[in-house]
């Protein structure tokens, strides 16, 4: 396989051609925060946490959807990027209703962990307190739209791995929301195979097993290992 070389945060990296900048960064042993990315699914660049600065380009680019190119010089950990990432997480908290206190995913939530990792201690943006519902019509699982960050991991895992395509994102802008089937109650969607992969893929407590209560959602052991590998990368010193 053809290889190409580039510099990430001053470090020379050789990666297979066709790799994403996210993959290249990880190959270099550097951590890059993500929420919408899940290995094995098509990247969509939705969460904007993996934004990087590429020399010669005026706009920041999401590393997950950007292809690594020969000779690129990439910065992933500048003060501006860190500030933008924290701002993105603050916006997630401000636009939904994220109450860790009684959330089923507390302690195992990627959004919660990201807020801690990025040093978010409050949101500079006013909370929107949107009126959102809980869909508990499925016999095994529930969707609490208050906790959905529209990462679309459930959409992709259902469409790409299970082949059922139960989930999709409807609406525009702040009216975007996750819908099941043809915007039906989840329990009425015949296409759902009740495989539970969407629940496993969900980074927050939006999708959960019905009989789990506060702080009882835990990732599947294999997924937990994946997460640990990503989160266990060495801490990044300030440049």
């Amino acid at each position: 396989m053809a290889a190409l070389t580039l510099r990430i945060d001053g470090q020379a990296v050789a990666v297979p051609a066709g790799s994403s900048l996210l993959a290249a960064t990880r190959l270099a042993g550097l951590a890059l925060p993500v929420l919408c990315h899940l290995d094995g699914l098509t990247p969509v660049g939705a969460c904007r946490l993996c934004l990087v600065a590429i020399e010669g380009q005026s706009k920041l680019q999401p590393a997950c959807t950007s292809e690594a190119l020969e000779g690129q010089v990439v910065a992933t950990n500048t003060a501006e990027l860190r500030e933008l990432r924290r701002m993105a997480v603050e916006l997630f908290f401000a636009e939904g209703n994220h109450v860790c206190a009684y959330c089923v995913a507390s302690g195992a939530c990627e959004l919660q962990a990201m807020a801690v990792t990025l040093g978010m201690d409050h949101s500079r943006f006013p909370y929107q307190y949107p009126l959102r519902d809980v869909d508990a019509s499925h016999p095994l699982f529930s969707l609490d739209a208050n906790r959905c960050i529209l990462c679309s991991r459930c959409v992709r895992v259902c469409a790409e791995l299970e082949g059922a395509h139960v989930w999709d994102i409807a609406g525009r802008g702040r009216h975007c929301r996750l819908v099941a089937g043809l915007d039906q109650p989840w329990g009425e969607v015949d296409a759902c195979t009740s495989c539970g992969q969407c629940v496993e893929a969900c980074p927050t407590g939006a999708l959960f097993h019905k009989d789990d209560s506060t702080a009882e959602k835990h990732p599947h052991p294999i997924r937990a290992l994946q997460l640990r590998r990503v989160h266990d990368l060495p801490p990044r010193p300030d440049p």
Partner: protein, 480 residues
């Protein structure tokens, strides 16, 4: 000209409240009211949530007694699932509640109320608190703090954290008791017992001496009493059925089921308080005034069932009669219940079934509504949920212990005010601090948790207002 005296905030209680004294044109006391001035709205914003989250949400009503809400919510969840929880889970929940009552009573007695008894009513307010007690009697203060720690530590050993541990769930509890936790409890029990003994030895002589008058005027009146009792009429704090007695000892209603609470309890509302006024429905708001909490539990039960606690119960009854009607006796009742909890904890940790590994059953929604009950440190707590076909909450009603004591607390304030303001108050006269404190202490007998009972926020300040017949505010004094 008439006036109203306002005490705002009421201090050393949990929550926000004020007291108002109403004087007529001649400066004579006409009424006294205990106002709860906070509102939280849990009953409303729980709507739309899955019932499985109710334990986690309602535990957040209070940082002092989250366990009470946790247990009531879990018991309501058991009924919605139509399950009988494993015996070990039942015993572990009981252990949790015993530890909770122990720590909360220790807080009420040592941290909040004992400065009044041990440092004196006239002691300056800046010293009349736990820090003053630490300076005056460091050994007793330390022992009291460690007794509370004993209860709190058991909560952590069981639930993983001291406050808001979401360990009791519909269907049982999450994790069994570990060997290490059991060993810790057994190791610390003797010290906890010694502290309870010390507190009783210090408090009882005061009851025989300087605190005699308080026992006569701090809420000394007939009322009904409500609480859970076990199958043989013994003291209980989590299972069992409700019993309601009159102050002459007559059992007005027995084997009441919490599911039927709406048939025997009603709630009145007054515009001057966020706290509702529950009463025994068949007798109406006046005659139906009832009290709950440690004193009520000891009044409704035949016996406690453990030797030391039964001896202390006999002492309480020897002082006041079979049914104790003075609210000042709540303090002694708390100490008796601490003893009862310590003995019951000792019995429970020796029970091999307690460490059974099967502590939870799973189920699916079986009905559209259920009522759960538990004995919180402050009294009987009801959770009533209605859910839709998918288990989402459509209606919540919480009847909190402190609310049920509301009529009695108001009557207590009036009784104390009449005692300490026997004659007319001259216009513009300064209100003595000792009066403020006695009125507050009348409320402290009930150890109210207003954040729980109104589902409201904050810590408790106190304001005393003097209001004239025309409603005009004539004088005001506040603290906090």
């Amino acid at each position: 000209m008439s006036r109203t005296v306002i005490i705002d905030p009421v201090t050393r209680i949990e929550g926000h409240a004020k007291i108002s004294l109403h004087l007529d044109g001649d400066g004579r006391l006409t009424d006294a009211r205990f106002h709860v001035v906070e509102y939280r709205g849990f009953e409303k914003f729980c709507e739309g949530h899955p019932f499985t989250e109710m334990a986690g949400i309602t535990a957040r009503i209070c940082g002092i007694c989250p366990v009470s809400h946790l247990l009531a919510a879990a018991k309501t969840g058991d009924k919605l699932l139509g399950v009988t929880i494993p015996p070990a889970a039942q015993k572990l929940r009981r252990l949790l509640n015993l530890a909770q009552i122990c720590q909360s009573h220790a807080l009420s007695f040592f941290h909040l109320s004992s400065p009044d008894f041990l440092l004196g009513w006239e002691c300056e307010p800046a010293r009349r608190n736990l820090f003053g007690l630490m300076a005056a009697d460091p050994d007793l203060a330390r022992a009291g703090i460690r007794l509370r720690q004993f209860g709190q530590q058991i909560l952590e050993l069981l639930g993983g954290r001291k406050i808001h541990a979401a360990w009791a769930v519909p269907g049982g509890v999450r994790i069994p008791l570990s060997d290490a936790a059991k060993a810790w409890i057994l190791e610390r029990l003797p010290e906890a017992r010694a502290t309870a003994r010390l507190a009783l030895e210090r408090f009882k002589p005061l009851l025989d001496g300087p605190l005699q008058r308080e026992q006569q005027v701090f809420g000394q009146f007939p009322s009904l009493f409500l609480g859970l009792v076990g199958p043989d009429g013994e003291w209980d704090c989590i299972d069992g059925q409700l019993r309601l007695i009159a102050s002459d000892g007559t059992v007005l209603a027995d084997h009441l089921k919490e599911d039927d609470y709406a048939s025997f309890l009603a709630e009145a509302v007054e515009e001057w308080s966020y706290l509702k006024f529950p009463y025994y429905k068949p007798l109406g708001p006046a005659a139906g005034m009832y009290r709950v909490g440690p004193l009520a539990r000891l009044n409704v039960c035949e016996r406690i069932g453990t030797p030391w606690a039964d001896a202390e119960l006999a002492d309480l009854r020897a002082r006041h009669g079979r049914v104790v009607t003075s609210s000042f006796a709540y303090h002694q009742a708390r100490l008796v219940e601490i003893v009862a909890c310590l003995e019951a904890i000792e019995q429970l940790v020796g029970d091999p079934q307690l460490q059974d590994q099967r502590v939870r059953v799973r189920g699916s929604l079986q009905c559209h509504g259920a009522v759960g009950v538990s004995e919180a440190p402050r009294g009987t707590l009801f959770h009533h949920y209605q859910v839709d076909d998918h288990g989402l909450i459509t209606r919540v009603n919480l009847i909190i212990a402190t609310g049920q004591n509301n009529l009695a607390m108001n009557r207590t304030v009036l009784q104390i005010a009449r005692e300490v303001i026997p004659g007319p108050v001259a216009a513009g006269a300064e209100i003595p601090e000792a009066l403020l404190n006695r009125l507050e202490a009348g409320i402290r007998c009930y150890d109210p948790c207003l954040s729980c009972s109104t589902h409201a926020a904050g810590q408790m300040p106190l304001r005393l207002q003097l209001v004239g017949v025309d409603g005009q505010l004539l004088a005001e004094r506040s603290r906090g």
